[in-house]
């Protein structure tokens, strides 16, 4: 019986954890209330508005200094992204055509692919170069 009895410290810890659990549940009830959602939406709107004003003011200062600003860099990066999209489409089309040629020449595409996966020398340079250039060890 004596062994089952909690020490004062253990008892204090138990009581504290019990209280913490209750507070946690109460907090979860609070955040799930409709009014909390409304409060959150309003707070978000205010933060977004302040951020927008700050961004606009900074951009104005920057552009008056005739320096490339956030928007200019974003525009350029987007252009690069679009170019990469187009390149990817071209590469996929080239690979599709190469597979088709390989199939017509009698070599099953899957067999060729499997050979490449095992490290065999690739037959077409384009795709292999692409992969080699991207291959790097991680981490």
């Amino acid at each position: 019986m004596a062994e089952d009895r909690l020490t004062p410290e253990q008892e204090a810890r138990r009581l504290y954890e019990e209280a913490e659990t209750r507070v946690a549940k109460a907090a979860e009830r609070v955040v799930s209330r409709d009014s909390f959602g409304e409060l959150l939406a309003m707070a978000t709107e205010n933060v977004v508005a302040v951020t927008r004003i700050s961004f606009d003011a900074l951009d104005l200062v920057w552009s008056n200094l005739r320096l490339a600003g956030r928007r200019d860099i974003t525009r350029l990066t987007r252009q690069l992204g679009r170019t990469e999209d187009k390149l990817e489409h071209v590469l996929q089309e080239v690979e599709r055509l190469r597979d088709e040629v390989e199939r017509q020449n009698g070599a099953p595409a899957s067999a060729t692919r499997a050979a490449k996966a095992d490290g065999a020398k690739p037959t077409a340079a384009g795709s292999a170069t692409r992969r080699r250039s991207q291959r790097s060890s991680a981490p």
Binding site: A114, A117, P139
Partner: protein
């Protein structure tokens, strides 16, 4: 240890506690060796190195657009990737990268209609196998499901969905963001890409005491009792704190279509002029839900079981939270073997 000893140990424990918290960014996570197979914009497809590939069908892992996919390979000895490699699978990982403001124009269609099909195509080319298993976690599961719904001729043989939001009616997020006063368009427009910290803050706010207090209090007690496991704590803390931005357009579409309009279960989700018809999903399907998941509650995932057209549907319900289900200390014994067993029967040539 009695109370006096505990008090005497407090200064040392305080130093140790501070050291664990302050050096969490130095934790080694995602260390399993892997190679880059393909890249496009911010997306990278990796293949993990292995000399033990015994199953014919490779596995492609897809994570959410929030947080990083490192959770699949958290730390040595507690890595789902390591587990799959040991089992004999050829494992690929689709990493969405870290988008910035320039990627604000990337919508859900970019991920579903461009990146996943391209990644599957590369998996096919590199592995030499015609079919693959697509394993999606959280939003990654929804994206994977959308891919299968939109491309009935896809090379996906098996689809695994882990804690995936499908029907958002009962979600706490819905009560926060589905209201008219939450102007998602303005948020996306101003930020371009929504800061990851904001999304993380919202996630933590769902269980404020647990996330902002209990986690640290438990660590303190473990340090004080001398049984803290700094590597386990730091690995998880580092992953939790790594929050890439959410591309603005994808964020707007995700919030509007999934939470404000609940389009997926209503059969009204359209990407690139095509309707995502879940009855067109015919892959072998495994759905894993977590009993204590507050981010994608179980009842919000279960409707998928009735909506898909698959003949082979399995549902596993396990205790745990949204992340703890797969990355918790019990996952290795209680969840991963069940997934491996399911895959085993469906991964032969």
């Amino acid at each position: 240890m009695n109370a006096l000893e505990r008090i005497a140990r407090s200064p040392i424990a305080a130093l140790e506690f501070a050291n664990i918290v302050l050096t969490e960014r130095d934790a080694q996570i995602a260390v399993t060796p892997k190679d880059v197979v393909w890249t496009h914009r911010t997306t990278t497809l990796y293949r993990y190195r292995s000399a033990n590939r015994t199953y014919a069908v490779p596995v492609l892992l897809v994570f959410a657009l929030i947080n990083r996919p490192d959770i699949f390979d958290l730390r040595a000895g507690h890595s789902f990737v390591e587990f799959l490699l040991d089992e004999g699978y050829d494992v690929f990982l689709l990493d969405w990268g870290v988008p910035d403001e320039a990627d604000a124009d990337l919508g859900l269609e970019h991920y579903v209609c461009d990146e996943i099909p391209s990644a599957l195509r590369e998996v096919r080319r590199v592995s030499g196998q015609e079919e693959a298993t697509l394993l999606g976690w959280c939003i990654g599961g929804t994206l994977s499901l959308l891919h299968c719904a939109l491309q009935p001729g896809t090379t996906v043989r098996n689809l695994v969905l882990l804690t995936t939001p499908i029907d958002t009616t009962a979600s706490l997020y819905t009560s926060w963001v589905a209201r008219d006063s939450f102007d998602v368009d303005r948020v996306a427009e101003v930020y371009g890409s929504v800061p990851g910290r904001t999304v993380d803050w919202a996630n933590k706010l769902m269980k404020p005491v647990s996330n902002y207090w209990t986690t640290y209090r438990r660590l303190w007690l473990q340090v004080l009792d001398g049984d803290a496991r700094p590597d386990a704590y730091q690995a998880m803390a580092k992953w939790v704190a790594d929050n890439p931005p959410f591309p603005g357009r994808a964020y707007r579409e995700w919030i509007t279509w999934m939470y404000k309009e609940n389009r997926l279960v209503r059969g009204r989700m359209r990407l690139r002029e095509r309707r995502a018809d879940l009855s067109a999903v015919e892959q072998n399907l495994l759905v894993v839900t977590a009993g204590a998941d507050h981010i994608a509650p179980r009842q919000g995932t279960l409707p998928v079981l009735d909506l898909v057209g698959s003949a082979d549907v399995t549902h596993l319900d396990r205790p745990g939270g949204h992340i703890g289900l797969m990355a918790g200390s019990k996952a290795r014994k209680e969840v991963w073997p069940d997934i491996a067993e399911w895959l085993d029967e469906r991964s032969h040539a």
